[in-house]
Amino acid sequence: MNNIKANRLKDQIFKYWGIACTLLGLVLLAIFIGSILIDGLQRIDWDFITSLPSRKAERAGIYTALMGSVWVLVLTTLIALPLGIAAAIYLEEYAKKGRLSSLLEVNISNLAGVPSIIYGLLGLEIFVRVAEMGSSVLAGSFTLALLILPIVIVSTREAIKAVPQSVRDASFALGASKWQTVARQLLPASFGGILTGVILALSRAVGETAPLIVIGALTYVPFAPESPMDEFSVLPIQIFNWISRPQEGFEVNAAAAIIILLLITFLMNGIAVFFRNKWQKKLG
């Protein structure tokens, strides 16, 4: 009898332990966001967003870094999106089971696990040096595009896989070719799922710091980039730069810039979740 009681007690204790663990991460995140808001919120105003970087903390702004991030994000999308979706369509609809497709599959799963800084080394040799792009927006975008490619491919495949087989059968029965089926049935039907994956991948790209530091993105740029070949900085690098400075004022700047970066990241995640829910309802 005693044994049963002891077991029930242990069970109860574990339940509360489980709740505590689950809340731990979220509470820490809340503490963290709270402390950042206290530090940084007072610093955010229109001037902070539209000012150029400066050696004086109270006059410095994030304009050039923010514009750099926008440039990189747009170009990364333009490169990674067609490539990733095309590769996913091939793997999901065209590839026959065999050596090649299993090689592609192992390879993509491996690429997803390669540390981001290694992509930086790749970009430094291939895009910056061999392709002679220099430490430009374009070199940075190519590097990040390769980094998010596995994520885009995996999520696109899942979205296409979720389209019921009956849609394909119906399309073929009406005499459509394979590509017509893909372009007119499968892609529109999986659009919501693909969009979710792409936005999540881009939200990862917008927060990446290390690979861009490695390819030589600047920590201080006096002007916003005006073409893909211009040198650039991005928001996370600006934050890193401010964190590494000893003066008090820059810590406040870093906190303020982090609020902006988190706002962008969470907004993108929110939009992605919104599309996912909408799409899943439609599909179900």
């Binding site: 080394l121 490695v214 988190l262």
Partner: protein
């Protein structure tokens, strides 16, 4: 005509897929070419056995061990924190929590993985380190403890989400059998479900380790930049990734020995994560066959 178009489209789609293989080959090629150049000047035996890493000083030493020990130390702290917590979360969510709670808590936890790492670095440096200093006297401003713990917070969702999927995939008949024998949820979880889902849980842990080893910004900001062969979590260390960042921020001439050190460090990192990823992929394949 239509046939030609179809074939052309298929070939272009195939080309896109093949680019992913090109990326892997590119990574291996770039890392090995520069590393081979590096090892022409620095004997590989020095690289593996020297206990000092000082390529940027006048008295140059090229022993990877201090960087490796920094990497392993911070990763170990992160894993020691994230695995018990993450596993407990996965068991709680999968076996104890009400269904509605499960639906809302998973995306919330995944938010932890969505926060950019540079932000976690700031958190470690400005919040966690001062907090730890309040009760660990002699804790340096840069240390592997704080960086490791924050890295642990970041990888909690990797462990909890994948482990939860694995637990969830265990057939219900096993649960029912265990309850039928009169076991509590706790006994059921640890004696039946965790062993049954062990391959999935192991995969989640391996992926978390691989994540921790390759993590850059948190350690570059909070763990310091002093390569040091130590297992003391209170002093500054430097990881492989932090070293690459440190060199990249400075003015290092292309083709110089210093420039090549980051590729030698990079290939070491790549070999570690490659082995871990391949291993986890193998287990995952086996695991899939078991349940599908």
């Amino acid at each position: 005509m239509r046939k030609i178009k179809e074939v052309f489209i298929e070939k272009s789609l195939l080309t896109s897929a093949l680019i992913t293989i090109l990326v892997t080959l590119g990574i291996i090629l770039v890392l090995s070419v520069e590393a081979v150049n590096f090892f022409k000047e620095v004997p590989i035996i020095d690289f593996l056995t020297d206990t000092q890493w000082t390529p940027l000083f006048t008295d140059k030493h090229f022993g990877i061990m201090p960087l490796l020990s920094g990497t392993l130390l911070t990763s170990f702290i992160a894993i020691a924190f994230a695995v018990p917590v993450g596993l407990s979360i996965s068991i709680y969510i999968s076996e104890y929590a009400p269904r509605s709670f499960r639906k809302s808590i998973k995306p919330a936890l995944e938010l932890l993985a969505a926060v950019p790492t540079v932000v976690y670095g700031f958190f470690a440096l400005t919040v966690v380190t001062p907090f730890l200093q309040s009760f660990i006297p002699g804790l340096s401003g840069f240390n592997s403890l704080s960086a490791g713990l924050v890295m642990g917070i970041m990888i909690i969702p990797f462990v909890s989400s994948l482990s939860e999927d694995a637990l969830h995939a265990v057939p219900n008949s096993l649960r029912e059998a265990a309850y039928g024998m009169g076991s509590t949820k706790l006994q059921n979880s640890f004696r039946v479900l965790v062993p049954a889902a062990s391959s999935g849980i192991i995969v989640s842990i391996i992926l978390a380790i691989s994540r921790a080893i390759g993590e850059t910004m948190i350690v570059a900001i909070a763990a310091g930049q002093q390569p040091r062969l130590t297992m003391d979590p209170t002093v500054p260390v430097e990881t492989i990734t932090a070293y690459i960042v440190q060199v990249s921020l400075g003015d290092v001439e292309h083709g110089s020995l210093e420039y090549r050190t980051i590729f030698a460090a990079g290939i070491t990192l790549f070999i570690f994560t490659f082995l871990l990823n391949t291993f986890s992929y193998k287990i995952r394949k086996k695991f899939r066959e078991k349940y599908e």
